[in-house]
Amino acid sequence: MNIETMETHSFDVLVLGSGGAGLRAAVEAAAGGGLSVAVIGKSLLGKAHTVMAEGGAAASIGNVDSRDSWQTHFYDTMKSGHYINNFRTVEVFAKEAPARVLELEQWGAVFDRTPEGLIMQRAFGGHSFRRLAHIGDRTGMELLRTLQYKAISMDISIFQEVTITRLLMDKDRIAGAFGYYRADGHFVVFKAKAVVLATGGWGKVYKVTSNSWESTGDGAAMAYRIGAELQDMEMVQFHPTGMVWPPGVAGLLVTEGVRGEGGILYNSEKERFMLRYDPERQELSTRDVVARSIFKEVQAGRGTPHGGAWLDISHKGADFIKRKLPGMYEQLLTLGDVDITKSPFEVAPTCHYTMGGVKAHAETCATNIPGLFAAGEVACGLHGANRLGGNSLADILVFGRRAGIAARDFAGSRKGDVNIPESQIEEEVTRVLEPFNRPNGENPYTIHEELQAVMSTHAGIVRDQQTLEEGLEKVLKLQERAKNMGAQGGRTYNPGWHAVFDVENMLTLSELIIRGALERKESRGAHWRTDYPDELEEMGKWNFVHEYSPDGDRIKRVPVPTMPLALQEICAKPLAPGREASDNPNQRKGASS
């Protein structure tokens, strides 16, 4: 391979990932003018996992509940994250989310409306007020499409269906990325002064998952390998309501909007069991609580025929359901053989979101690698031990923009040329072509399937020391086998070859999930250990930070940042700000009617 003739591009700002966070970052980086900006996507433009977000974007605009405020959004997010979130990240987020949502309207997004003609907001689990700006049950798609058309109207270079396999360094600073075009397999080098990582999560490590094929954690794994710090990897969100039946669609998401619009959960004995687990918030409790409650009901023998709970919204009437949840109505009708306007349907937890990720600075999204910024699901800091529904769409807007600004500033002030040692590229070319030398090597699809089984059994919704240790051993064995993964055929659009790198990334991150889970000897948020069933004050003081070393993963305990007094006072309130003096209004009454 002659590196001299390899396709090479140079940009000031390189954004990896063309989902909501990536596009928002690119739009911001290009907004100032004068800097060259590129976005790289593993899929076609407009197909990223952001389209799967359904319920809405959380922002305290207060169009429906005027007592909502950034303080309440802050309170709810910290509480839901069980206080291991970075308080400053949450503060910035809660303050800026309203402006970011309104800005989308300026760019063409059309949210559902209130009777006053403003953006409609719906109730959601763990939010004290009706807060989620939404468009039926396809808010993520609206957001992504809006950003997509905004980006193509600007001077931004967009590379579609390009897989990045390695981040390139110039000494201790980021210098670009290496990858290949999926269409024909030819290599490409991107030199860049600043890189924004917006590559999403890694929910594909689990068997039952709402995540698309892309969610293989490429960005986090690549960043880890060049020395970026990854934090709170044990925190994986299981969404309470995935489809259960028929098996062909198991795991497919049923939006929390169903509960937000009044859906009720029952066990096989027709009991509304959430009244037992969270009498105050019931179905609109946080996702960790609802998922665990369904799991416990099934364990106790009160599950549905296929091992879940019943979710019923039929009492709201066909017109209402078809208007507010059109996508869900059709998905369950065509794929699940159930008419949700007439009958209840089975749901069970499905892997949904990874709260852990690349440790990012609260205001700039900077990582510990100079010039590398992280935003969206790949980043860590906002969600703590459990993410609130609707906070991810607001997250990608707020921190996508901030990462764009910071990358723009960094690139603008960086002096001199970006130098990438040729050896880095040569090594990577050899590594990426190796699977073709092993046409009869391990099948990456088989390794992936086995990994999913291991992670679901050993590091799923319920954990303990022994199962985790056994799981770790199995993952390490799979990592050994994976060194022998092979590919057949040529380099033209070859998913078997592409899968090799996806699987390597997932194996790296799976190990970190389990190591983090072993380290956190308590139960907190989404992390539930039966051998340590209680949340422990001592453990709540720490974030666990993973560092790559040639000898293996190193975990550091880093103190959770201490809140200033004013924010502590908000968190110390017995009731959410805005609700303390009230009669504790029933959220469910008249929601988005």
Binding site: S43, L44, L45, G46, K47, A48, V51, M52, L102, E105, Q106, W107, G108, V110, D112, R113, E116, G117, L118, I135, G136, G140, M141, E142, R145, Y149, I152, S153, Q160, A183, D184, S212, W213, W245, P246, P247, G248, V249, L252, L253, G327, E330, Q331, T334, L335, N443, P444, Y445, E449, A487, Q488, G489, G490, T492, Y493, N494, P495, G496, W497, A499
Partner: protein, 254 residues
């Protein structure tokens, strides 16, 4: 229910190819995309297929199943009980490999359309009934099945003369937004070639999002073009006023 399905999947690239037969065990509720994934994992790891969400949100897995343009993730295999299932790539776009086609032309077209251009700053005051009409267009997942089936593009290869149904929907979405002020009527008549559509409604039939592409997007836009250019009285006054539509960088509604 038989315990397996017989699939015939197109394998090949721009140099040609053929259908190959695969057998897939039947699992209740499985969709065509599941079967293709089974083949990929067990028989043909290099079988090229695009997909993302498997939930009809992303519009990646478009293909022609027994001759009908469909999303593979939304097409149940048990609908084909007792039949051989033929899976072919979309025919209107150049093939890359197997079920993957080069749809980049669509992204080129998208860039030509002036985006939403409001004259006032958000937040907007709009009633639900103001936006119901355009929200329908926002359902589009850009699967390009309408582009695939449109005979102007599929049979007459008039990609240089017509943007295709997807972009009529996109232009309708901007054009009918209550706050939009850009004027896309000249573009619709000329570069976008709305006159090429002769209302056979094939696009509406294949739309997995059930958008009434022809009735709600194309016909109203055709009416706007007709009002502007073919209304004899307006045409007379226009000639008197000599409005030059190309003089502004973003032409606005008159």
């Amino acid at each position: 229910m038989s315990d397996q399905f017989v699939l015939r999947i197109f394998r090949g690239d721009q140099n040609g190819g053929e259908e190959r037969e695969y057998y897939v065990p039947a699992i209740p509720g499985m969709v065509v995309l599941d079967a293709v994934h089974y083949v990929q994992a067990h028989d043909a790891p290099d079988l090229a297929v695009r997909w993302n969400c498997k939930a009809a949100h992303c519009g990646s897995c478009s293909a022609e199943i027994n001759g009908m343009p469909k999303l593979m993730c939304k097409t149940r295999l048990d609908d084909y009980q007792g039949q051989v299932v033929h899976i072919q790539p979309m025919r209107t776009f150049p093939i890359i490999k197997d079920l993957v086609t080069d749809v980049s032309w669509n992204y080129e077209v998208a860039k030509k359309i002036p985006t939403f251009h409001p004259e006032t700053a958000a937040p907007f005051r709009m009633q639900q009934w103001d936006v119901d009409r355009i929200q329908e267009f926002h359902h589009c997942i850009e699967c390009f099945l309408c582009q695939d089936v449109c005979h102007v593009l599929r049979d007459h290869h008039a990609q240089d003369e017509y943007f295709g149904p997807r972009f009529m929907v996109k232009m309708a979405e901007f054009e009918m937004h209550p706050a939009d002020r850009a004027d896309r009527i000249p573009q619709l008549k000329n570069e976008a070639g709305i006159g090429m559509c002769n209302v056979t409604k094939c696009c509406t039939e294949v739309c997995p999002q059930h958008i009434h592409i022809t009735d709600n997007a194309i016909i109203p836009l055709k009416e706007r073009v007709a009002d502007r250019y073919y209304d004899p009285i307006r045409s007379f006054f226009r000639r008197l006023g000599k409005k030059d539509e190309s003089s502004q960088s973003v032409p606005t509604k008159g």
